[in-house]
């Protein structure tokens, strides 16, 4: 039971390069999320997806692109990396709504994170 995985775990890239962070979950959760975590800011939502082919912007979407062609995958692409995108990136997933009385459908399950450094 792999749960939710992210790859790579560590990445160093140069300014201007395109880089893609991968996220894969094995639970068939409908919802998937991308956050970035920076000192003093907690976690900030970049993009999220309610289902395959449905994505929406979060709080800090500029400079990022997402896609969700399959339920289990939610890659995040930095089209032209900048130093300000140096951060730790977390992917998360949660279950479908409508599970009667199930507060567990609101819980988010997080991957281990990807530490990205842009030089």
């Amino acid at each position: 039971d792999a749960g939710i995985t992210q790859s790579p775990r560590y990445k160093i890239t140069e300014t201007g390069r395109q880089v893609t962070l991968m996220c894969h979950q094995t639970w068939s959760h409908s919802y998937m999320f991308w956050y970035r975590q920076d000192l003093g800011h907690g976690l900030r939502l970049i993009y999220y997806s309610a289902a395959a082919d449905i994505t929406d912007k979060g709080e800090v979407p500029d400079g990022y692109v997402v896609s969700r062609s399959k339920t289990e995958n939610f890659p995040l692409t930095l089209e032209s990396a900048t130093r300000s995108q140096t951060s730790v990136y977390f992917c998360a997933s949660s279950n479908s709504p409508g599970l009667a009385g199930a507060t567990s459908s609101y819980e988010q399950y997080f991957g281990p994170g990807t530490r990205l450094t842009v030089t």
Binding site: H41, G42, L43, L45, T103, Q108, F110, G111, P112
Partner: protein, 112 residues
């Protein structure tokens, strides 16, 4: 802008003592959740309290919610060294988006 703000930013206690962390938020919510993050790891869900609940318990955790003051507290009783971590509150605002807004967290250090 951040929905939730934790207080204090850092807390150091001795093993066996209780730890209390507070969270304030700005808008109406469906529910409020608390997560723990060990150093270098992803976040782990601890407990969820709905907007119509005032108190909830789970093991050594006690969460309160005061919607009139837009605040919540997390109490960890009889703390252990293994409780050393950062704790975040997260709110699910009434936007229908199911996306959480996290506070900046409280770093808890439990000294053995």
């Amino acid at each position: 802008s951040q929905q939730g703000e934790e207080d204090p930013q850092a807390l150091s206690i001795q093993e066996g003592e209780n730890a209390t962390m507070n969270c304030s938020y700005k808008t109406s919510i469906n529910n409020l959740q608390w997560y723990r993050q060990n150093s270098g790891r992803g976040l782990v869900h601890l407990i969820l309290i709905r907007s119509n609940e005032r108190e909830k318990h789970s093991g050594r955790l006690r969460v309160t919610l005061d919607t009139s003051k837009k605040s919540s507290s997390l109490l960890i009783t009889a703390s252990r060294a293994a409780d050393t971590a950062s704790y975040f509150c997260a709110t699910d605002a009434r936007t229908g988006r199911r996306a959480l807004t996290f506070g900046s967290g409280t770093r808890l250090q439990v000294q053995p």
